[in-house]
Symmetry: D2
């Protein structure tokens, strides 16, 4: 892990429509496929963040008064620009995050769908109107912008997760300060510049790179009215507590440990194929990944383990820039070591390591990349560290139970409640599961039940803190406050008085 | 009115993705600014229309099963193509309809907004879902496509009115047969070809030019499930009766005679400026034009007549292609003569012709164009032909009353109830007027209260036959049928039986 | 069929809050369990119906201006009164229609649920409000009452079907004229009187008994703005054509021939139990009854026929007033004869009559009642009269096919598309069926998928003419017209001018 | 302030359907009209509150699975019981709070409207359903209950504010623990018992009386998923911070200082009449009261002060049980002294005390009651304590400004943003004010713009902490979490396989 200052450029901030490089503190950004760094990212101090907030505050009044249709059209134009620049954005993602290019494209596509939904703003912002709530009294509600809003986003979807937030915040009339992950900041900054090109006025969208100091500034500055966060549960909880203690509205999305349930009547081949992507796609660095499979009955348990073993053998691991690869490196050296330690602990705690990806070989020139091959555990049991904790790596564990109820009890006992999935053909099993399971996003034969952009994303239990989910219709409510007007006009006005009040020569 | 066959080309139909010229019967298309014709339009016979219907029927199953998001994106692409081709489309409109280019652009812009709204389809098509309508019983509604739908549209907005209809019909999953006006068919055909380019599959959108034979075929063919119509009231009523008698759903928008009310407290200068556009824009050939002004009290009555007289004197009349002109010609020679006869009748019935546009002079080379200057009548009274009937020309009549109630009684007594407007500063007058007036679209200080694309368009009384308005949210309901599913799963299924039904070696 | 004038009383109309007996023409009302008549019903002539319309017209302005919350509370009170008087209403239904008391109670309960839904009016009538459709321009829609509306209802649910209509019409601000079936008019008249007691003002709800003359008056009188109809398809189509030809909005619900599909994986016992009620409940005189069962594969076909045969043997047929009976008589002697003729024709056309109900024995004193026992046909085939036509009697036919697709093709080829049902455990079969079948109300393991009161009721194909379904959310749109207001205020008003316009001694 | 233990009874808690008197700690409850106490209220310790939470937790699964329609009907029955017992409830309110009986009835009526809205639950709980989010993939959202929820409510509306909370929480499927004000606990306990009578199962609604210990238990117990609070701003902020730090969702409504703006064109008589109730009703102990009037221009300023002075002279102050009185006592001796001190401070800071209510005389026998007459200050200025702080007493201050903008700047600069009102006839002033003012509930000529029960209640700035408002549609979202299901069925199922998988003898 070498960082040659001489060859790097510094990734700055976007404040008030201009790129600002705040040179006081920087941190190297690595290419996880090589372990080399060719750039560093500026870490904003409090003053820089406050400058971004001030810019957002100043831009608010004019943007708030811009008709929703005009704001929406900026998003339509942005959608076009994102499509035009998709290859470039995907390359930026892969270079800093490591995921394979097709996966980077997939992430971007999901983000574009959120921009597309934001472009429906005139429909989404309609208020409720009631005539005659009393005699000649009307009342209606409007969903008004909050002011300056902020987002703090994780490394694993550098392009998509920010696009869950600020496009909806903006079309609702807010301005925004985004603090993306300092691990892979380039794609988000590039996208923000496209937003300016699409017509977002300076100051309406600001990006500050940084660390805890930047986050703390956003959480405590009184001008920031709302904070959206996606990250790990301990941080999410802390963000929620701190932001709320400062009077803000906060939605904080945390960790996950999503279980898939394989019923005895499921099509095992289909499930194996679905699980390969769900467990190992993007190296398992997804909060909607499936790191645990609960097999109901040993028949399907045995079959699915055999099937996965066969498929894993065909997987290709290597740099994400090579389109032939199925899986790239983990995001950082530290994370790579942490995930490998989880695999060690699983073995130590007695789970059966069916496939061991620890010694994976990659293409020459990538020996210092953070590569870990797919790992498959069987006989995982609750209580084991690899069962309880979020690994965020290419590690799938199989748990075996005898009944659906036993599977559901496991899931409901777990700390997290983000996503889950059931593989079955049976209508009743699917309905019982999806109704009763304490998880916010449920798939029926859909391994990654990420809601489409016109629905909303959010988990239960310690996977989400707050009232409202991310993106989709919930985002409209999170980024607006309801104002209710009750109106009655005095009766003796110009209507009756017309003929008397005004001269008439008739 | 000369029609030199040697120099014309024939405007055909668009059926199953191909331009078809049905040569059996044609009719010349004129340039109203010159009275010359350089093209003719094919008039489809029953067989040709049936061919279009068959094409739409064949294209339906695949289109209906295309996810709404994909259908919506076709509309996004079409929006882009319409913007790119705006100048060309405006030129086609002006050449055949006569309106000035800026007005043609305005019309197109409104149409584009309908395409934009159609692109929100994934949000608009959401059904209602109820869990536990009974114990473990769920019920939900889906809004499913009808099949083949049809539209019949007028000459006065050749680009916009078709765009009220088929984009919403298509995103709801229907296929479409459009029968536009045979007076100005070129812009609609061009737009339909852009739709193909945007990704509308062959057969999903068909255009047939024609006359009564084409209309009758659409109204009586059992494969056509719904018909949207915009035109005059007698035809609208006949279309509604005939289509319904053949079991279809029909929405038929008819004529108008929109009154603006000028209250004694209104800003007269502002009203004059608004009325100039509302009365004379597009030569008054708009169903939302203001042909009648009701002045409450003679003070504002005198002031507004004086103000209008002054403004009319500044108006420039001439070919729509000249950007310096404010008003172009009427659409056809017949219509020109009909409007002029209305002016004659107003004089004969005793109204005061304050400004007489009958002898208007236009630029050389346009002596045979169908030009009529702006006409202004004062002292118009109910019962006069120019008060009762829809003139559809540049003729504004001023009626004088003493109270708002008197103005409202006039409006409510009139056959039509399309649009209306009140000019006032007074909240109570505006609220009383907009609540009680028997008119579907009400403007408060807005002379042409055409609802924006995310609301819906429709009048009351004999201005609309049917349950649901045009475009906007109502269009979703018009172009879909509600299907309600009620679902209960038998309880003794794979869920409880899992451990017994399937072999287990544990 | 004897009608002793000396012992009858005459059932009149409810007009302007008073019972009116129009004696010119009457018709006997029979007790179908005995064949005797003890009352007759007045048949309104045109003048009487016009009087009801005039009363509704006069009551409209005040009722329309009554706040929705107050109108809704009338429905809450009516709900209480219906519950208190349930036994009496059920007795009136059974005495004139014949259905068993528990079934009459069931019908009433469904009707009460519609009254309950109507009491949600303040929520249901909310319009859509958009701030800043342009700079400082707002636009909103209101759903305004139509005026006088009308309903024409069938004999088979004398209490429920009227309650589908007028409660929703009333809470939307309309007034109503109801023409119920002249076969069983007593319960509806009693319920209308309870409505007055609950606070419906005189003239807001009127009931006229009658025949074609009454119907024709309602369809042609210009004051009636909307007509809801439930009955047979030929009449529905004629009502739709006539009402529309007179410029009204019309929803006309017609006949049905609902097929249930039994899949090879279904629980046959459960299906048999469900089918007994669905086929024979209320003697099959329900538009949501299941007169056809399509068995997919002979295994389930044989099993279900055997099961039904066993269950039918246990059924008790007799007067509805005896709580031990499962099925009462048919509604009239004519109808009884018509249904019996269908059974004869089924035998003649070669279907296998597994159970013959033609010789059913009933309790002494009911020998002249219109009783027919449950009939079960196997080997019914398309083309047979008992397959094609709506029998409306206790006759279930079993059709045998080899695949679900074959079953669906049968259903889609049939004239009607009201309700259908699939019995299966399989999620995919259920989803494919409910998505693609051309039927408006689909049950998955629910034999009578009548939507709950907070959804809406309506079929496809020739089972419904019109745009909007009955009751539930669709009823709000059917009984209101959308008014859209666009509002802009002149800027130089009291706001800026305050300090100048008004004297100040500061 | 005497508290004779010998004559008191102890007001207990309602836990698991039974009244529990927890005798360890109690506190006297006073009649503010006499200063005497005849009862005391039990103060729950942690163990008692945990018992209530445990009861709510145990009752949750069954209640959550009860169909919404059934839960809604419990509310319908409760509405009836509240109406029947209105006199008794009003008497309980007046005896402990002091407000006049008519005002107590008014409060209850508003509470009943919230119960009525809760009875619309089947409509309110509908989720969003999307067919074909991808090919043959469906997705829908359900709004599922949270579990145990809690409410903490203030003394000033002892009946109404709890009814803002638990009826909506319950119909959404949650169970509830309510901690009402210990000043006036009797009406809420009585209403909770009526709820049991209406069909709320034991444990579903629990009431615990108490102080900080009870509140802290509710805020920190992990089983409580959501907390609704209404009270002062410092407590609201603390509740929000503490509840959120424990991972809950919280909505905390705080204080207010509502300004009414009187425009030069307003009808002063009408404004005076409206302000009398808004300023002095319920002794000003309302978060929607108007304690500040901003007169735009001295003309209306002088006129309104004169008018108020005249009206105040006619006011009758005395025990709330006497229907002739307009205003009762303040709630406690401490609060009385605090409000009187505010009046003193206003005089000291230089405001002009136009009417001094400090020496008010009341009927014999009430000399120890906490009575303060109406006070009116003119020449109040920002910065004065009586301008800045929430007094919650019968003290109205008049501020004078020259323009509407100046008035709006004052309002926007104030800490609170709960309600406000403008008196004007001018449409533009009303629209500008209601659009731009940073206040959540705006009245146009409506002095107390409390939203009706089918809209939602909430302020801006430091008047509300949280994302969602109280009652109405927002309450549905606060008391539910969105679950999104994405469903795809494997294609090779029983549908295609039917004929092969199952034996057939055809």
């Amino acid at each position: 892990m070498k960082h040659d200052q001489s060859v790097t450029h510094t990734i700055g901030h976007l404040i008030d429509g201009r790129i600002v490089a705040d040179a006081a503190r920087t941190q190297p950004v690595f290419n996880p496929a090589t372990g080399l760094s060719s750039s560093s990212v500026a870490l904003a101090d409090r003053a820089t963040v406050e400058q971004a907030i001030a810019s957002a505050q100043a831009a608010f009044p004019a943007w708030r008064n811009t008709p929703p249709l005009k704001r929406a059209r900026v998003m339509s134009r942005l959608k076009g620009l994102l499509e035009e620049n998709a290859d470039k954005i995907a390359a930026l993602i892969t270079a800093e995050h490591g995921k394979v290019l097709s996966d980077a494209h997939g992430e971007l596509q999901r983000g574009i769908e959120n921009v597309e939904y934001a472009s429906y703003a005139p429909e989404l912002l309609k208020g409720e109107h009631s005539r005659n709530v009393g005699p000649s009294i009307d009342s209606w509600s409007e969903f008004q912008a909050l002011g300056v809003t902020a987002g703090i986003t994780p490394f694993n979807f550098p392009a998509m997760v920010p696009l869950w937030m600020w496009p909806m915040a903006l079309v609702c009339g807010n301005t925004f300060v985004l603090k993306p992950s300092e691990r892979d900041p380039s794609s988000v900054l590039f996208i923000a510049q496209l937003a300016l090109q699409a017509g977002v006025p300076p100051g309406v969208l600001n990006v500050v790179n940084g660390d805890k100091e930047a986050v703390d500034t956003l959480l405590t500055d009184a001008r920031v009215k709302a904070v959206s966060f996606v990250g790990s549960t301990p941080i999410a909880q802390s963000i929620y507590a701190t932001g709320c203690a400062h009077g803000k509205r906060v939605q904080a999305l945390g960790g996950a440990k999503n279980h898939a349930v394989l019923m005895p009547d499921a099509d095992v081949n289909n499930a194996v194929s679905a699980l390969m992507g769900a467990a190992y796609g993007s190296c398992g660095e997804r909060c909607m990944a499936i790191p645990l499979l609960v097999a109901v009955g040993d028949a399907v348990g045995d079959a699915v383990v055999a099937g996965l073993k066969t498929e894993i053998a065909k997987m290709k691991v290597g740099p994400g820039t090579d389109n032939g690869n199925d899986m790239g490196p983990l995001v950082t050296k530290q994370h790579f070591e942490k995930v490998r330690a989880y695999v060690d602990s699983g073995v130590a705690e007695g789970a059966e390591l069916v496939v061991d990806g620890r010694g994976v070989q990659v293409a020459p020139g990538h020996e210092n990349g953070y590569f870990l091959g797919a790992c498959l555990f069987d006989q995982v049991r609750p209580g084991m560290k690899i069962y309880q904790e979020e690994i965020f790596g290419p590690v799938l564990g199989v748990v075996r139970v005898k009944t659906l109820q036993e599977a559901m009890d496991l899931i409901d006992a777990h700390e997290y409640g983000n996503g889950t999935c059931i593989f079955t053909r049976d209508g009743e099993a699917a309905r019982y599961f999806s109704d009763h399971i304490q998880v916010g996003m449920v798939g029926v034969n859909v391994p990654l039940p990420v809601p489409v952009a016109y629905h909303s994303f959010g988990g239960f239990k310690r996977s989400l803190f707050g009232d409202l989910n991310a993106y989709g219709p919930d985002a409209v409510r999170f980024y607006t406050k309801r104002k209710t007007i009750t109106q009655r006009w005095p009766s003796a006005g110009v209507r009756e008085g017309a003929v008397f009040s005004f001269p008439s020569n008739r």
